[in-house]
C-alpha cells in the first residue's frame, strides 16, 4: 500500500529536499506551500516512479488547513506522515523593540501552523487506524536562545513542547510525534541571519559566514539532505519506539 505524507513549506529549501527524499522512499507526497511555485515543484518531482502533488496553502489559516487536508486525502489516500516544516524567520529586532504584529505573525506560522495541521490531520490518522508519524522541524534556536531571535526562538521552543504534548496524547493511537532541530543549515533564512550578524559586527558577509562555519565542530553547514535523511528515518518503522524526542542535526554545535 502506498503511504501518503504531507510536507509543508515544500516549494523550496529544506522542505523540498524532504519531499524529494520521501518520494524516492516510495511515499505519495503532498507538497504544501503558500507559494504557488509548489505546484510546479511537485509536478517536476512527479513521474512514473514518484507520486507528488502540490497544494497552495497558508498554514496560519485554520479553515484552509482543514479544507486542503481533505483534498489531499481525496487525492492521495489516508495520511500516515506529516512533516511540519513551513516556517518564517521573523524580525531580528531586540524583543522589547519588536513590533507586536511581526511577533504574532511568526507565532501564527511557526507554532499555530503545525497546530492547525494537527487538527486537520490527526483525526483522519486516528480513524484510519494505522498509526502515523508526525515530524516537526524546530531549530537549534528553539533549544538555546540568541540575541535578535526572540519571536523565532519562542515559536520553535513552543513547537518542541507542542510535539512532546502531542506525543503523549497520541501514543495510544500509535501516532509518534518527534522534532528535528536543525542548526546552521545553508538556507535563505540562515543567509539572512548571517547578513544580520555581519551588519551587527560590521564585517563582511563572507567573514561572518566563515565565523559561523568555524564554530561548527563538524566544520561545515548542514544541507537539506541531512534533514531529509533524519525525517525519512523518523517516518519509517525503524524508529518505531522513538516518540516525544528532539533530534539535533547541527554538526555538534550544541549537544543535547
Amino acid at each position: 500500500m502506498t503511504r501518503a505524507a504531507i510536507v509543508t513549506g515544500a516549494a523550496r529549501g529544506l522542505g523540498h529536499g524532504v519531499a524529494v527524499r520521501l518520494a524516492a522512499d516510495g511515499w505519495a507526497v503532498a507538497l504544501v506551500d503558500q507559494s504557488e511555485d509548489v505546484v510546479s515543484s511537485a509536478a517536476a518531482l512527479a513521474d512514473g516512479a514518484h507520486v507528488a502533488r502540490g497544494y497552495v496553502l497558508d498554514v496560519s489559516d485554520p479553515d484552509a488547513c482543514i479544507a486542503t487536508v481533505a483534498t489531499i486525502v481525496d487525492d492521495l489516500g489516508p495520511i500516515s506522515g506529516l512533516v511540519n516544516n513551513a516556517g518564517i524567520g521573523g524580525p531580528s529586532t531586540l524583543v522589547h523593540l519588536t513590533d507586536p504584529a511581526e511577533f504574532k505573525r511568526v507565532i501564527d506560522v511557526n507554532l499555530l501552523g503545525p497546530f492547525h495541521m494537527a487538527r486537520a490531520v490527526v483525526p483522519q490518522m486516528q480513524s484510519a487506524g494505522h498509526g502515523g508519524s508526525i515530524v516537526n522541524i524546530t531549530s537549534i534556536l528553539g533549544q538555546q536562545g540568541e540575541a535578535g531571535t526572540g519571536p523565532y526562538s519562542a515559536s520553535k521552543g513552543g513547537l518542541g513542547l507542542l510535539g512532546q504534548t502531542m506525543a503523549m496524547e497520541l501514543a495510544r493511537d500509535s501516532i509518534r510525534v518527534n522534532s528535528i532541530a536543525p542548526g546552521n543549515m545553508l538556507t535563505v533564512m540562515h543567509e539572512e541571519h548571517v547578513q544580520w550578524l555581519a551588519d551587527t559586527k560590521n564585517i563582511s558577509y563572507d567573514k561572518a559566514l566563515d565565523e559561523v562555519r568555524e564554530s561548527i565542530p563538524l566544520g561545515r553547514h548542514g544541507t537539506a539532505e541531512d534533514i531529509a535523511n533524519t525525517v525519512a528515518w523518523l517516518l519509517s518503522a525503524d524508529s518505531s519506539y522513538v516518540t516525544g524526542q528532539t533530534i539535533g542535526v547541527n554538526g555538534g554545535v550544541i549537544r543535547t
Partner: protein, 245 residues
C-alpha cells in the same frame, strides 16, 4: 542513497542490544567484529551472523587493545564504526553499594566504553562513527529499582559522548549515544514481576509496551550511517516516550 559503515566493532556482542546490532549490520552487508566476555553468547552471535569475534573483558585494557588489533586483522583494514554496548546492570540500594562494587561497575560501563572508543578512534583513518549506549536512567532517579552506580555510569556516558564529539569532530569522527528505555533484553529485571511490569508500562511508557533490542539497534544503525552525517554529540532516546511522561 545512504550508506552504512564498512567495518563495525561491537562490544557486548554476545546478547541483547549488541547482538541485535550485529544481526542488523550483517544483514546490511557491514563487516562485523564482536567482542564480549561471554564466550557462549559470542559464539551464538558468530553462528547467526558470521561476525569475527574476540572473547574479551572490556575492563582488561591490554586484552581490549589486542581484540581491536584482531578486528583490524579480521577486516583487513581499519574499523570505521563502533557500538559500545558492553555494560552491566545491578539493582542495589545506595547504602548497600560498596566502593569496590561502584568502581567495578564504572570500570565496565564507563571505562570500558571509553577505551573501546579511544581504540577505534586511534585506528580509524577517514573518520568514524561511534555510538555509545546510555540509558533513560541517566535522566532521573528511580526508587523502584535503585542503582546509583548504574545511573551514575550512564550519566558519565552522556558527558563522555558530548566531550568526544567535540574533541574528535575535526577528524570527522562522530560520537552519539542511544538512550534506551525499558527494552526486552536479558538485562531487564522488570519482567521478573509481570504485575509490576504491566503497571509500569501502563503508567510510565506512553507507547505502553517494552521496546525491542532490534528497535535500539535500528537507532544505532541510523546514527552509524551516512544518513546521520551531520549529527554528532546527540543523545537519542529510544524509550517509547518514557522520558517525557
Amino acid at each position: 542513497m545512504t550508506t552504512g559503515p564498512s567495518n563495525l566493532v561491537v562490544t557486548g556482542a554476545g546478547s541483547g542490544i549488541g547482538q541485535a546490532v550485529c544481526q542488523l549490520a550483517q544483514a546490511a552487508g557491514v563487516n562485523v567484529f564482536g567482542i564480549d566476555r561471554d564466550a557462549h553468547g559470542l559464539a551464538q552471535t558468530q553462528a547467526q551472523t558470521g561476525a569475527g569475534i574476540a572473547v574479551c573483558d572490556v575492563t582488561d585494557e591490554a586484552a581490549l587493545i589486542r581484540a581491536m588489533d584482531s578486528a583490524v586483522e579480521h577486516f583487513d583494514g581499519p574499523p570505521d564504526a563502533l557500538v559500545a554496548a558492553a555494560g552491566i546492570y545491578r539493582i542495589a540500594a545506595a547504602h548497600d553499594i560498596s566502593a569496590q562494587a561502584f568502581a567495578d561497575l564504572l570500570a565496565i560501563n564507563v571505562v570500558g566504553a571509553f577505551v573501546s572508543a579511544r581504540e577505534v578512534a586511534t585506528r580509524c583513518v577517514d573518520g568514524a562513527s561511534i555510538v555509545l549506549i546510555a540509558s533513560m536512567a541517566y535522566e532521573a532517579g528511580d526508587t523502584n529499582e535503585p542503582a546509583a552506580h548504574y545511573t551514575a555510569s550512564k550519566g558519565a556516558i552522556v558527558s563522555l559522548t558530548r566531550q568526544l564529539a567535540v574533541e574528535w569532530a575535526d577528524r570527522g569522527i562522530r560520537v552519539n549515544a542511544v538512550s534506551p528505555g525499558v527494552i526486552h533484553t536479558p538485562m531487564l529485571r522488570l519482567v521478573d514481576n509481570p504485575v509490576k511490569a504491566a503497571a509500569y508500562l501502563e503508567s510510565g511508557v506512553p507507547l505502553h509496551r517494552f521496546g525491542t533490542a532490534t528497535e535500539v539497534a535500528n537507532a544505532c544503525m541510523f546514527l552509524l550511517g551516512s544518513s546521520a552525517s551531520y549529527i554528532t554529540g546527540v543523545i537519542l532516546p529510544v524509550d517509547g516516550g518514557a522520558t517525557i511522561s
